[in-house]
Symmetry: C2
Subunit: 428 residues, 2 copies
């Protein structure tokens, strides 16, 4: 394995440029570490004329990523375009068909089409590496797939969307509402073209689907994830959570029990003194729990040129060093179909609603919760403003199913002025 | 690579038994993940009759680890005996000479003899893996060597001795002194046979020497580490640090600058709100900083049967999957001799001493510091008890060299009643 490893890079946005910079600047270091020269032979992006702040001299230009993927002088197709459909998918399939290994940062592609791509790659003896697809610079794919390979994984959790964590921590730190911080993120360029990918929890759920598959030996099952965004979180929720010793995080949890595979990406309350509770700004954190290792917590930058390029380079070095393992840590043909849990493990919940100014309103709420088997730990009603009174409730442990029955029944009454916000209080 | 991978395990203490348990219990999982059967063919320990709580039926018994290492039916020699000299070293050398790969948890062996062993292994085409040698269950060797392979590492830091962190955090939490907690650790079995390995910082320094070598491409240089234990830390230090917003941790730092390679394992003050400051009990934490990735923080159990066995199994799975990389991440023959920095980077320091009840004593201390170029940020003298008065000083940034000159001069005066304690305040 002493011959040069030749890369074709599709996509020259922030991450692609970061990868080019490292390969140009650190050629000697990379060769010392992998025993091979690592070189870019061809690149592909929409605009060949744009100044990207790095020299692209000496690289062949392709305008078509599929053509790049098939080039004879490319050993590894590095896909940094993004998107689950279209060119990224076509070019990845073409690369595998042409006998190339693939390195990608594309979480959506793997969450949606990972199973088919893994089967194609493994049938052809190729590998797909995707460290940059989950939690940016944190080597979490490697830690889970390789470092913890001796563990039966019991739970995976993570805060994996920096924009959501930036909004939530700054609501508390700056006392600004969700909308103001959403606008700030838009101005700072922190949001995807479709912001719902971020604040709606979809981007983070793509990542969770990938981690789940590795952790539990199941086919990636994005559709099986309960996804809820952070759009309805108010300053009131943030402050109430803080009063009780919690912070609100968009937290992904994947857990397998006798009930099946539970996958959630939802705003949750976590203890303020836990590593997850203390995570601020755009930083990511993944918690891996296994039967032998107990708990490992990984923290680092979830995005940005350097951190994401670092993850891509880690994959490239792995391939240069000859590491060849199945995409999701075991042969794709052995992955089981995920059996989504009908109902998640019980937990306490935080509820916020508002009641109309009617006699017996609060009693009705309490009765409906009790009838559904949801027991109340704490309840607080505030004074009426404009005819409605905010109500906060913390329940004892209950299943989401029981809670949903109670919330549906509440909705049918004539006393509730606000569709309730229900946030799980997660044991971390 | 579909044939069975056959292990010979030397050492059946806590970790060895943990490894045996996982291999017996998770045979199918390990085969699914690595594509090969993983089997133990032979074991070696002092007492063949002892009940270890796990069946050893079907394994050949050796009383001599060297003989185990040479067996024809062993592919991987798993060294879990410990100790830098004697049998562990002899058997590891014998295994490599006999064409076996080696998996070890032995930090002392690698810190002291790692260079020679790596050269022997690489010349013979064998690999040495040692994830369990540093920070127990945390996959830090893998993260640094592989995950961050695209980075020029700028700094590595870690709290890597759980016993010391247990003592330091419980001094604050329980208000007990060092000696009481040392005795508690002895009773709980948290201490090595030679407790100075723990509280003297030597065990943690072994780990730092290994991380340094990978991070900076230098030969492991344990002798180049400035080591200081936690034995002189008092409750007073803990409380004063807390008052200023810090916690005291036995912190390892390795950093390369134009001055050379700086390696320290010393009690330091770190901000209470930093991940390192928040680390409690026996948990370990390693902070990896690179030019691309910025900062990654890894946290997990630093010891114990399950976590350490998890790390050993990770290495075994890597070998089963065909991962073959040089011991310290690049060929041992390419590692440079470490050039220890003559003086470390400047930092503020916390000083505690006691003065005799003599006129002008405090003025003399202040003058000596000033003459050495050490500028005082804060100073506090308490009332005299039994003829001596405690004095606390926080300096502005200074080099350790300047500080040492001041402390030596202080020692020559007739006013100091207590050899000063000097703790670096680390920017984390």
């Amino acid at each position: 394995m002493t011959q040069t490893l030749r890369l074709g890079i599709a996509g020259l946005g922030t991450v692609g440029v970061g990868v080019v910079k490292i390969i140009r600047r650190q050629a000697a270091m990379l060769e010392a570490r992998t025993g091979r020269k690592i070189e870019i032979t061809a690149v592909c992006a929409r605009d060949a004329e744009k100044d990207r702040g790095v020299s692209l001299a000496g690289y062949a230009w392709e305008t078509d990523a599929v053509a790049l993927a098939k080039r004879d002088d490319v050993d590894v197709f590095v896909e940094l375009m993004g998107g689950s459909e279209g060119t990224a998918k076509d070019a990845t399939e073409a690369a595998l068909a042409a006998g190339k290994d693939v390195v990608t940062a594309n979480k959506a592609l793997l969450a949606i089409h990972g199973q088919a791509l893994a089967e194609q790659a493994e049938a052809a003896g190729q590998v797909i590496r995707y460290e940059a697809a989950v939690a940016g610079g944190i080597p979490v794919i490697k830690s889970l797939t390789e470092g913890l390979a001796g563990n039966e994984i019991t739970r995976v959790m993570g805060v994996m969307n920096g924009t959501c964590n930036y909004i939530l921590t700054n609501m508390e730190a700056k006392g600004q509402g969700y909308n103001a911080l959403f606008d700030e993120c838009a101005e700072l360029g922190y949001l995807e073209a479709d912001p719902n990918l971020d604040v709606g929890g979809i981007d983070a759920a793509h990542k969770l689907a990938i981690l789940s598959s590795i952790a539990f030996g199941t086919k990636p099952n994005f559709d099986g994830i309960d996804i809820e965004g952070i759009q309805r979180i108010t300053l009131e929720d943030i402050h109430q959570a803080a009063d009780m010793g919690y912070r609100i995080k968009l937290l992904g949890v994947a857990q397998r029990s006798a009930r099946g595979l539970e996958q959630r990406m939802q705003p949750c309350l976590v203890p303020v003194n836990s590593p997850l509770g203390q995570l601020e700004g755009g930083t990511n954190m993944v918690v891996l729990e296994g039967d032998a290792v107990e708990q490992v917590v990984l923290r680092g930058p979830g995005a940005g040129e350097g951190p994401t390029a670092s993850a891509v380079l880690g994959d490239i070095c792995d391939i240069a060093r000859g590491l060849r393992i199945p995409t999701f840590g075991q042969p794709a043909t052995m992955l089981e179909a995920a059996q989504p849990a009908r109902t998640g493990l019980p937990a306490p919940y935080y509820l916020r609603t508002a009641l109309l100014d009617k006699p017996g309103a609060l009693a009705k709420v309490a009765a409906i919760l009790g009838d559904a088997g949801v027991s109340i730990d704490r309840m607080r009603q505030y004074g009426h403003t404009n005819g409605t009174a905010p109500v906060l409730i913390v329940t004892h442990k209950t299943t989401r199913a029981a809670l949903d029955i109670a919330l549906a029944t509440l909705g049918d009454t004539d006393v509730v002025a606000l569709d309730p916000v229900a946030l799980r209080i997660e044991e971390v």
